[in-house]
Amino acid sequence: LKTALVLILLLPLLGGIFNILLGRMLSRRVVESTACAVVWGSFVASLIAAGAYSGPAVVEIGAWFSSFNLKVPITLYLDPLSLSLCLMITFVCGLIHLYSIGYMREDPGHVRFFALLNLFVWAMLVLVLAENLLLLYMGWEGVGFCSYALIGFWYREAKNASAGRKAFIVTRIGDVGLGIAIVWMFQLFDTLSITRLNQMGHLVTLGVITALGLLLLLGAMGKSAQAPLMVWLPDAMAGPTPVSAQIHAATMVTAGVYLLMRMFPLIGVSTVVCAAIAVTGALTAFYGATCAIVERDLKRILAYSTISQIGYMMLAVGSGAITAATFHLIMHAFFKALLFLGAGCVITAMHHEQDIFRMDRLRHLLPGVFWPFLAGALCLVGMPPTGGFFSKDTILAAVWAKGGMLYGALYMVGMFTVFLTAVYTFRMMFIVFGDPLAPIPLKQDRLHVQLKPLPRIMKIILVPLALLSLVGGIFNIPPYLGNGLLDSFLAPLNAAGGSLSHTAELVLQGIAVIAATSGIGVAWWYHGLERREVRRARADQPQKGINAFLQAGWYVDGLYRLLFIHPYRRLSAILWQRVDEGVIDDSLDRMAAGFGRTGQFLGRWGRGRVSVYMLSLAGGATLLIAWFAWEVL
């Protein structure tokens, strides 16, 4: 087990370092195959670890550092949560690596790309497997760095580089919360081990736990793009599409949710924290869905949808349903990776066009992309019997089971968001791929560009992901059909929540299906048949009212500019022009001028030759020393 665990971590790290050091000297084929091989090797190692798994295990690999009472060994923790996430990460990332071979086929920066992707996988696995918070924090910052470097991968365009910076800075605000929480926990409990921290909650008062929980929530908000720190994720789409799929949809953004799940035994006792997590999640889910409805950039729609789906996971964590959150996390990784990779195919075929209104009826031109994409969309919407249906339903059922006014309201928001999700997903489907009821095959020449042929590997990758999205539900079937695999596997992690009768659950699922179907209907009503041409024409005019509000992402960016950036600029202008130039520089300049004048005045008595000064200095010193010697001796 230990070897397997070490291999899981070591392989991607070695792959990354190998590519950094030697990648430039080797052929493209070698770089690509190393990068993919190490991730798949890591997947195999995870499988072996899963096979050898018998119960939660703490494995100490080596000492990292220790001073006084702070001891931080490199310890890994394998429990159902980290094991299932490990399998998911290595599998999805492996597929994305393969896909990247096709996507980056013509890019000269492939060495940097694959090295960073490998390092990312390593950092993410460290984050997931870490047993102490400091190791987790290292992985946390590692994924943050890789994400920054990959968002700004095409750094020659200022827009991309600043998107990378924005992501880095916004997540850093959240990291401050996490950092404070870690240091504080060490001060309180004298240990950083997650397993021990989770058993020590009763030692401190509820108020402290609440504060710790809120700090951790702040960290999770930054990393997982939750309100109010969600502004970086839509801009993060500036990176290459595989990066968006791997980092900003499947794995990294779920790190915040993972952190909260990991620390849930500690912070879950506080009802305030739970409520805060749930409210954040529900609000963000709603926010993301509303923004996605009017967005016209294909990748940004998916980014908003990611924000929204992670909101669901947070909602689940806040309701104490860790299984539901994990289940949705894994399903989301499958279908969102699928959607992003499909979008990458579409975008490549359209010569890097991302505006959905420039695409039309691609269903007939790209059938190999359309069918997997449809599977992903159905899964995102939550139509039975796809995996997304079961996972989203478990979350909503858990929220409903929690009862009370607050969670009742959150359930309503969640259910309304299901409807919105269906609307925006199928708006995208109808606009990009065409209306199924109006089967006028689009001729190649009616599109304004010639479609570019896709590498075969890019289409093949979509198939396993599509299959997993469609049948992923079997991992955790609802209780009325039998016992869920994940449910029993993750059982020790769950907080005791209310359980629902099978009828109630069926009713809730029925409501969800009705909401989703009506959402699809609304999308079709707006964007189907001949009305699509009207919409298309209208989309090119400037937006007004609610549409403009939503398209600008509720003007959150503008609000932050007004609240933080603008005052900061004013303050820096004052400090620069008044304080630095006015006070410091001016006083120094005056002083220098004063010295100069004094020097001119004193210089009248000398000859102005440095060598003479030197000689007289030496002579004077000799005289002084001689006099001292005379006196002393």
Partner: protein, 102 residues
């Protein structure tokens, strides 16, 4: 300690006088003047270290470290000034710079 204090002092004074002579004689080049100053400083530093060893106190060594830090700052400034002076007169001869008088 095998080297007695007197030896250290003698060696340090030799270093110091070498540096002093360098400073006084070598007028054609500002950089040599700076090097001379460095050598003198090293002689002084050696006295500090030798003394600290002789009396078993760390103060002298700490002072030597401070001198090192100060010297590096001084050299970086002085070299920048040499570059600047060279740009102005296309020479590094010490005696060419006599604006203080003329």
């Amino acid at each position: 300690m095998i080297v007695p204090l007197t030896h250290v002092l003698i060696f340090a004074s030799i270093l110091f006088s070498l540096g002093l002579v360098c400073v006084l004689i070598w007028r054609a080049n500002v950089i040599m003047l700076l090097i001379g100053i460095e050598i003198m400083l090293n002689g002084a530093m050696l006295v500090f270290v030798g003394g600290s060893n002789h009396w078993g106190m760390a103060d002298g060594q700490i002072f030597a470290l401070i001198i090192m830090a100060m010297t590096s700052a001084e050299v970086s400034l002085a070299l920048a000034m040499v570059v600047y002076l060279h740009r102005r007169k296309k020479t590094v001869n010490v005696d060419e710079f006599r604006e203080l008088k003329d």
